[in-house]
């Protein structure tokens, strides 16, 4: 049953990916500006002749019809060839792989912090509903989801780097340099996870089988951990997966504030350079990663909750 579910979801992926590639390609080519002119920005008008500009345009394949360029893009993507960066003159796939490690490290660090803080505050709030712990946890969660990433990052730099000197303010300088960016990225997601954990656990705690477990005289920790939390975590797992996907594809601000050499910074540069192949390649990679993380979440959700794979709506 699970295999069939997985196969069905995999099949659904294909049109999603085609649509994504089409959207990315269309948006990039709808943007104003000519990459050749941008490349020549600063060159003397009298020296770079229109013929030379045309030569460059041909060399980059920009004079081909749009559908040819699109088919070349998709055909290459299928075989792992995302083209060559106009400005960096390196294969886009190589450029992505070179920076993937940094973004993965940041995303992993961020999600670990998000899960640890989000789960613990959410569980505490659910178990101590109506108390000051509940209020404090939810205030923290609301702040987490409301605070802009760049502001939080700058505040951390100001306090922990400039004032206290505990962590470097920029760069990729070993594990110490990972702490502040991970904390920045993680705290925002922690707020989301915390709120969902609280509401999910609070709902489960109100169900009859929990009352029955308590009536049977089971110790609190068994009731909460074995019976309540396990079931309450199913929707939380979804949100953790989605948050991780978002971190992989959305670490742009954090990487810029902390000057980390990841995919986010690369895509910002690529946009500024209007480097079509590079922007297309990175965005396609990010979108595909997000879709795949979603797929993993869906499958694990179905694995944990048989009602999903059987096509039933959960109660």
């Amino acid at each position: 049953m699970l295999l069939r579910f997985t196969a069905r979801r995999l099949l659904q992926l294909a049109p999603v990916l085609v649509l994504i590639s089409l959207m990315i390609f269309s948006i990039m080519h709808a943007l104003p500006g000519d990459p050749v002119q941008l490349m020549l920005a600063g060159a003397e008008s009298g020296s770079v002749t229109p013929e030379r500009q045309e030569e460059l345009r041909q060399a980059m394949g920009l004079d081909d019809p749009l559908y040819v360029q699109y088919l070349r893009f998709v055909g290459g993507a299928v075989t792992g060839d995302l083209g060559t960066s106009v400005r960096l003159r390196e294969p886009v796939t190589d450029l992505i792989l070179a920076r993937l490690g940094s973004t993965l490290a940041l995303s992993l660090g961020g999600i670990i912090i998000a899960v640890v803080i989000g789960l613990s505050t959410g569980v505490l709030a659910a178990l101590r509903q109506g108390t000051w712990i509940d209020t404090a946890s939810m205030v923290f969660a609301n702040i987490g989801v409301s605070v802009p990433l760049f502001w939080l990052g700058l505040v951390f730099i100001l306090i922990f780097s400039f004032r206290l000197g505990w962590f470097p303010p920029a760069g990729q300088d070993g594990l110490r340099s990972l702490v502040l960016p991970s904390l920045t990225l993680g705290l925002v997601s922690a707020g989301v996870i915390s709120r969902l954990t609280r509401s999910s656990l609070a709902n489960v705690l109100a169900l009859d089988y929990i009352r029955l477990a308590k009536a049977k005289g089971l110790p609190d920790h068994v009731v909460y951990l074995r019976h309540a939390l396990r079931n309450a975590l199913v929707p939380v797992l979804t949100i953790v997966g989605l948050q991780f996907g978002a971190m992989l594809s959305g670490a742009v601000v954090t990487e810029t504030v902390f000057s980390r050499p990841g995919l986010g910074r690369l895509v910002v540069q690529a946009i500024l350079w209007q480097d079509y192949p590079l922007v297309q390649g990175i965005v396609l990679f990010m979108a595909t990663s997000y879709v795949l993380v979603n797929l993993v979440v869906d499958i694990s959700y179905a694995w944990l909750d048989p009602r999903i794979r059987d096509g039933e709506a959960p109660a």
């Binding site: 003397e44 000197g165 990729q172 300088d173 990972l178």
Partner: protein
């Protein structure tokens, strides 16, 4: 699947743990330069890279043929002498005979020939540098130490070009090819290329065999053991890294942080400027009311640049009053008082053109302006890439004379699109060069084509003829005289609104000694720089 997971985990862990960027408190003489991340070059190979930051990094690894010294003169580097034919179609360089590249390859006329031909080769796809080097018909190797560049047309900016061209080892360039060479740079400069981690840092190490060939060197190898250039993505971090001890020098420190370094103990603030146009606004003279010179003059007279400089930047920027800024070697003094701030006169000029405020809303409307429908409010667009605050300050000043200024900040690609369609009123334009030929680039109507840099739409035979000569007259003094005449014509016709020239602020730790700026403030020399305890 398991292998993929292992690969991803190892990749993430290795990224998390290193490579570590060396820190300031290292034992060796290790200079750390903090660099605005937005200025990180795409390629470190200056033959390909079209922007100045890449050429600056190259200058630490590869001495050029000539250098532009702190006082604005061209001084010998790998070339000991040079001369031009009267027509500026032949340039002869006499080379030093005692230089070898960092990989042992001898430096000679063949090496220069190789570099010039590499830049001009179509497969290099060099846009900017090929344009600077110009239409070389052939490179003649006379002997080991003499090389002649033969041009198809007079080419007077050869020295300005070759102060920027890194001279690479032909052996290394051939070995690595166009794709890989920028990660294996080999020149004949004071530092060896060590490592480049994109978006993070570049590391250079001292070349022990450097012979001090540049005039900027006091002789022998550099004093620094290692130089790390760190690319900082966040301006608030860039503004603080020297203060916090995370770097020795920060380049392009944002103006908001400079007071922290001025007169501060342990640091100093070094300010450089670049010769050129400054942050100027080109007027589109094609359509009414912009085709009326008095309308354009009114806007110039109604703008108080000094007040804007004081208000926004505590007077730290340079007020620019003409097509070239004051630090340009060919600046024309007459710019100074050409359009003194006088709002009453500006109002009188606007009324003379036909703009009056009859409805009393503070903004003038057209009443008998040629080509403009009566009643049309006087609204103009100020289109820029950055420094929106200058536009906003002008907006306030122009409101006082009844002009409604709309400030629109757009990204570079949109600017190019607008310029191509000539869809603008006042368009931001900044060109930087100590050579006056940029006046030809900006004001010669022959360059008013798509992809060109002449945007005003103004056609004047006299102006075209004067600036055209800047392409063929090699004598520096004669060129400056022509440039001054061109500035006068531009000012008389009020074709642009000069604003300010941005400084380049460097925050420098007091431990850094002999940090020397070029006369072009975006360039500096590390040949003699030391770190003291």
């Amino acid at each position: 699947m398991r292998a993929l997971l292992v690969l991803i985990t190892v990749s993430a862990l290795s990224a998390a743990c290193g490579p570590g960027t060396p820190r300031v408190d290292s034992d060796e003489a290790h200079l750390i330069l903090a660099w605005d991340g937005s200025r990180e070059p795409a390629s470190l190979d200056g033959h390909i890279e079209p922007y100045q930051p890449g050429w600056l990094i190259d200058s630490f690894i590869a001495d050029p043929l000539v250098a532009l010294g702190p006082d604005g003169d061209y001084v010998p580097s790998l070339a000991s002498a040079w001369s031009s034919s009267e027509t500026a179609t032949e340039w002869t360089f006499t080379l030093r005979d005692d230089v070898t590249f960092q990989d042992g390859t001898p430096f000679n006329a063949d090496a220069v020939k190789y570099n010039v031909e590499r830049i001009l080769a179509p497969e290099t796809q060099s846009a900017e540098m090929a344009a600077h080097v110009g239409p070389v018909a052939r490179v003649e190797v006379v002997d080991d130490v003499t090389v002649v560049l033969h041009y198809e047309v007079p080419w007077v900016t050869v020295l300005d070009a070759f102060r920027r061209v890194p001279i690479w080892s032909p052996t290394a360039a051939e070995k690595w090819g166009l794709e890989e060479f920028h990660r294996h740079l080999v020149g004949a400069g004071p530092f060896l290329f060590d490592e480049y981690v994109p978006n993070d840092h570049v590391t250079l190490v001292k070349w022990e065999d450097y012979g001090g060939w540049s005039s900027m060197s006091r002789g022998g190898p550099a004093q620094l053991d290692r130089v790390t250039i760190r690319f900082i993505g966040e301006k608030a971090v860039l503004g603080n890294v020297v203060k916090t001890g995370d770097a020795h020098v920060a380049m392009n420190v944002p103006a908001t942080y400079i007071e922290d370094y001025r007169d501060a103990s342990g640091f100093s603030l070094v300010t450089g400027f670049q010769a050129g146009t400054g942050l100027s606004m080109t007027m589109n003279t094609r359509a009414p009311p912009w085709n009326d010179v008095n309308f354009r003059r009114a806007l110039l007279i109604g703008t108080d640049q000094q007040a804007i400089n004081d208000l926004l930047y505590d007077g730290n920027f340079l007020v620019t009053d003409g097509p070239l800024n004051e630090i340009h070697p060919c600046y024309w003094d007459g710019n100074k008082d050409y359009y003194p701030y006088d709002p009453d006169r500006a109002i009188a000029l606007l009324e003379g053109v036909g703009y009056e405020d009859r409805d009393g809303d503070g903004i003038r409307e057209a009443h008998g302006v040629d080509g403009v429908e009566d009643g049309t409010p006087l609204r103009v667009r100020w289109t820029i890439l950055h420094y929106a605050e200058i536009g906003e300050a002008v907006q306030a000043q122009w409101r006082a004379i009844g002009v409604d200024l709309v400030v629109e900040m757009i990204p570079g690609p949109v600017q190019l699109e607008r310029v191509n369609q000539r869809d603008f009123d006042l368009m931001y334009e900044r060109q930087r060069s100590p050579d006056p030929m940029l006046l030809d680039m900006v004001w010669n109507s022959a360059h008013d084509v798509v992809g060109g840099w002449s945007w005003s739409g103004f056609v004047d035979e006299d102006l075209d003829s004067v600036v055209e000569q800047l392409r063929v007259v090699p004598d520096a003094n004669a060129r400056c005289e022509l440039a001054k005449r061109a500035q006068e014509i531009v000012m008389d016709n009020a074709l642009m609104l000069p604003t300010l020239s941005e400084p380049i602020f460097y925050a420098v730790s007091d431990r850094v000694v002999d940090f020397v700026l070029s006369s072009e403030g975006q360039f500096f020399f590390l040949h003699n720089t030391k770190l003291e305890d």
